[in-house]
């Protein structure tokens, strides 16, 4: 497979955290790849506020700034919509296949001129970068719709449960922090592989998001398809 690959650190998340975590990571990556004119938007990660809202017994009103995590969006509405759609698909897949390691692959490619080959008629996508977001979704009863990030999940108000939840939240926050810095380092270190900017609007480069899981039979197929599209290095002249 061509292109630079960045395997992000695996995150342990719960169902209601999937959306915000994925939004944070994906938009951070896109912000580094939307090299056209952008007006960045700072988004508070409502992830950790959710725990407070569902913490109906130990509800503490806290400052948003103190607890919130934030990420940056390009400010492209179209991109936001596409990202949310993919996240919905991911959540559906996770619900259907629980207890699996799930992965989202964000790939940037170049559209190459159509190459007539014997196995494909598609426009060739020349992938130059792959981002693998690995999520380990904890087993949890589906008490809410995954599409709503303001979960109504009623959490056990036990003291030990809240402490455990706080510890887990802190761990997730720290891990998410690491992942974001991982992205920053990767972006900083590898710049030469980025092709010329085709578009100055929104996300400058074409991309695709593929959802896969470790046990997914299509997982390998997606990889194979990608290989076919990109072509084996030896096949390219």
């Amino acid at each position: 497979m061509n292109g630079e690959v960045c395997q992000l650190k695996e995150l342990d998340v719960e169902y209601f955290e999937i959306r915000e975590v994925l939004r944070c990571i994906l938009h951070t990556i896109f912000f580094h790849r939307a090299l056209g004119l952008v007006r960045p938007k700072d988004i508070d990660l409502e992830l950790f506020e959710i725990t407070y809202h569902t913490h109906h017994c130990r509800l503490a009103l806290r400052k948003i700034a103190e607890n919130s995590y934030m990420y940056v969006q390009c400010g492209d509405a179209e991109l936001e919509k596409k990202v949310d759609e993919k996240i919905d698909q991911f959540i559906d897949k996770v619900e259907k296949h629980p207890n699996k390691k799930n992965q989202i692959c964000l790939s940037f490619f170049e559209v190459k001129n159509k190459q007539q080959t014997w196995f494909t008629n598609k426009v060739e996508h020349l992938y130059w970068e792959h981002w693998y977001i690995n999520l380990n979704v904890a087993q949890h009863p589906k008490a809410h719709s995954g599409k709503s990030h303001h979960s109504k999940l009623v959490v056990d108000p036990g003291e030990s449960a809240s402490e455990e939840r706080n510890a887990r939240r802190a761990t997730l926050e720290s891990s998410l922090h690491e992942v974001l810095f991982q992205i920053i380092k990767f972006v900083n270190e590898k710049k030469d592989h980025i092709p010329p900017i085709p578009s100055m609007e929104g996300v400058s480069f074409p991309y695709e998001i593929i959802i896969s899981s470790s046990s997914d039979s299509a997982f390998g197929m997606d990889m194979f398809k990608r290989m076919l599209q990109t072509g084996h290095p030896t096949m390219l002249s």
Binding site: F31, H32, L35, R39, L61, I64, L180, F181, I183, I184
Partner: protein, 599 residues
């Protein structure tokens, strides 16, 4: 030599200059708290304007540089102009956390912006720019550098020869430089928001908050060495430099990884923290405390008394028996309220002498003595109504340490029928009466009391003269009963004991002469162990009690109980105590005579 503005070197020079400006803008935008006087609102600042990039028409040309439109940051805009001079000098931006001193004026919240430009060539740029306010003046404020950003362009030697190379390579060079600068600034934008200082920045900008700390920044062109201890605390982060043909653009960062302790202690909470599952205070649920207070706690100086108090019965009984006389509800009511709010504490009113606690039996059998678990094990003494002379009553009436209720108002009436249960309480004097019901005890005690009351219509002289007549029956207090109440038999025995006096005092028992009663009393006084000092004090306290019928009725049982308990527990009794007691008895006698005279 005139520089072609469209030449490659000029372009690169411009890119580098704008790079400095943009990086400063990015840093200060997220580190310089907003000044209220500049009509900034939190919402306006915290969220970007329209996300649509199509509103580029409102953007200034500088905003489009590096394809990154930022929010207005006056501090950055004011500082940037100073850096247009030279790209060869580093730009050092120190983000300083200022802790306010105690004498800080809370009326003003705008931070001080200080721009210091310490160039080696100070003569050319010898200025220091400060903002208007000095709230964060150096007086008493502690400053700590929490971040240090260094943006610099390191030119390569022999750069000029390279830049004058082919046009194609130069354009590629500037293009590449520009593209990589975009990437670098994007990373910078994200990074500044991941650092701890950003949280402080947001805290400061949050509305309606007065804080004892703030952020200021200093922009300089020389790297002043940090204190060794500060430098040791800081972590380093370096962005990948952007290589150009003539040099490389670098951004490096030194930051404190943890600065929460500085802000968490000094900041006031934005909003109260609710603790919904607050367990509650004693006032909220005072009844909770009652069962947990042990008896010994109440009377530390004396042997622990295990006897529960009569009013504990009342608290648990929803309504007294209908046969209870009128005074009793009053008393029970008062005692109920008392026991509800800290009955573990000794009563302090004159009607509730402290000493009464010490007359109780040992607590070893206290729990057993409780007739029912509903009765709150109040450690407070039995109805501490103490009437002078009532000890005599207790002595006379005590058969099995049963409390005696003397409804003095009824003494003049017909003998109280045994069916009347005038006792609003029946404080157990013994430790072994767990199952006797209140009504049962009240009736039996009342019978004893009424009989005793009749016996106690004494003349003064009768009291003083030990008749030597022994009173048998229920009013003879066994020494065993007095000495060791804990050895009392169980409830059944207790009731039996009560029944016994009843039987003895029954209609078949002739009315004993007053002289005999007095004599018996004197006998008991002689045998009785000395009262304690505090008990005598209680006697003195209760002396001025009002001679009202209700009071007497309420007090008498308590007195009886106290007296009997005292005899059971106290061993030392001085002569003066006895004399005082005798005097009390005489007062009682007078009272009784008066009342009997009225009726």
């Amino acid at each position: 030599m005139a520089v072609n503005p469209h030449s490659e070197p000029a372009k690169m020079e411009q890119i580098i200059t704008e790079f400095f400006a943009k990086s400063l803008h990015i840093i200060l935008e997220s580190r310089c708290p907003y000044v209220s006087s500049r009509n900034y609102s939190g919402d306006q600042i915290m969220h970007s304007p329209s996300s649509s990039a199509s509103s580029s028409s409102s953007m200034r040309p500088r905003d489009k540089w590096f394809n990154l439109t930022l929010r207005d940051c006056p501090a950055a805009l004011e500082n940037i102009d100073f850096w247009r001079q030279s790209n060869l000098e580093p730009m050092v931006v120190d983000v300083v956390l200022v802790q306010r001193s105690h004498n800080w004026d809370y009326g003003s919240t705008s931070p001080r912006l200080a721009l210091e430009r310490n160039l080696s060539s100070k003569e050319r740029f010898p200025f220091v720019w400060k903002s208007d306010s000095d709230e964060f003046g150096c007086d008493g404020n502690s400053e700590k550098i929490i971040e240090r950003w260094v943006v610099q362009y390191e030119s390569k030697k022999g750069c000029k020869e390279v830049c004058s190379g082919s046009k194609r390579s130069s354009s590629n060079s500037s293009h590449a430089l520009y593209k990589k600068s975009i990437l670098l600034l994007r990373s910078l934008y994200v990074t500044v928001r991941l650092l701890p200082a950003y949280k402080i920045f947001r805290e400061i900008n949050s509305s309606g908050q007065i804080r004892t700390f703030s952020l200021i920044h200093r922009v300089s062109s020389s790297v002043e060495p940090l204190l060794r201890r500060d430098e040791a605390e800081m972590q380093q982060f370096m962005f990948a430099p952007v290589d150009t043909s003539c040099g490389k653009l670098c951004i490096s960062l030194s930051y404190l990884p943890s600065i929460s302790d500085a802000t968490s202690e000094s900041s006031t909470p934005m909003s109260p923290q609710f603790i919904p599952d607050y367990v509650g205070s004693p006032l909220a649920d005072p009844l909770k405390r009652l069962p947990s207070v042990p008896m010994p706690q109440y009377s530390p100086s004396s042997s622990p008394f295990g006897r529960r108090h009569s009013w504990s019965y009342d608290t648990s009984i929803a309504s007294p028996p209908s046969a209870l006389p009128s005074p009793s509800p009053t008393y029970s009511e008062s005692r109920t309220s008392y026991s509800k709010f800290g009955s573990h504490r000794p009563p302090t009113s004159s009607r509730y002498p402290l000493e009464t606690a010490q007359v109780h039996t040992k607590d070893t059998g206290y729990d057993e003595y409780l007739p029912s678990p509903n009765f709150s094990p109040s450690p407070s003494p039995s109805p501490p109504m103490y009437l002078p002379g009532s000890n005599m009553l207790k002595v006379l009436l005590r058969s099995d340490s049963a409390p005696v209720y003397i409804p003095t108002s009824r003494l003049g009436d017909a003998p109280v029928s045994s069916s009347k249960t005038g006792l609003p309480f029946s404080p157990p004097l013994r430790a072994t009466r767990p199952s006797l019901s209140l009504v049962e005890r009240s009736s039996s005690i009342l019978q004893s009391a009424t009989t005793a009351g009749k016996l106690l219509s004494l003349r003064e002289e009768d009291i003083a003269r030990p008749s030597g007549v022994k009173i048998s029956g229920p009013f003879v207090v066994d020494d065993d009963d007095m000495m060791d109440p804990g050895s009392r038999p169980g409830s059944s025995d207790r009731s039996g004991n009560l029944g016994t006096p009843h039987e003895r005092i029954g209609p078949s028992t002739p009315r004993k002469s007053q002289d005999a009663a007095v004599g018996a009393l004197v006998q008991m006084l002689k045998k009785a162990p000395p009262l304690r000092q505090d008990l005598s004090r209680s006697q003195n306290v209760c002396k001025p009690s009002r001679p009202e019928s209700s009071c007497n009725q309420i007090q008498d049982p308590a007195v009886v109980e106290v007296g009997s308990s005292s005899m059971a527990s106290s061993r030392v009794k001085t002569t003066s105590d006895a004399l005082e007691e005798l005097k009390a008895y005489m007062d009682v006698k007078q009272l009784l005579l008066r009342q009997s005279g009225k009726s």
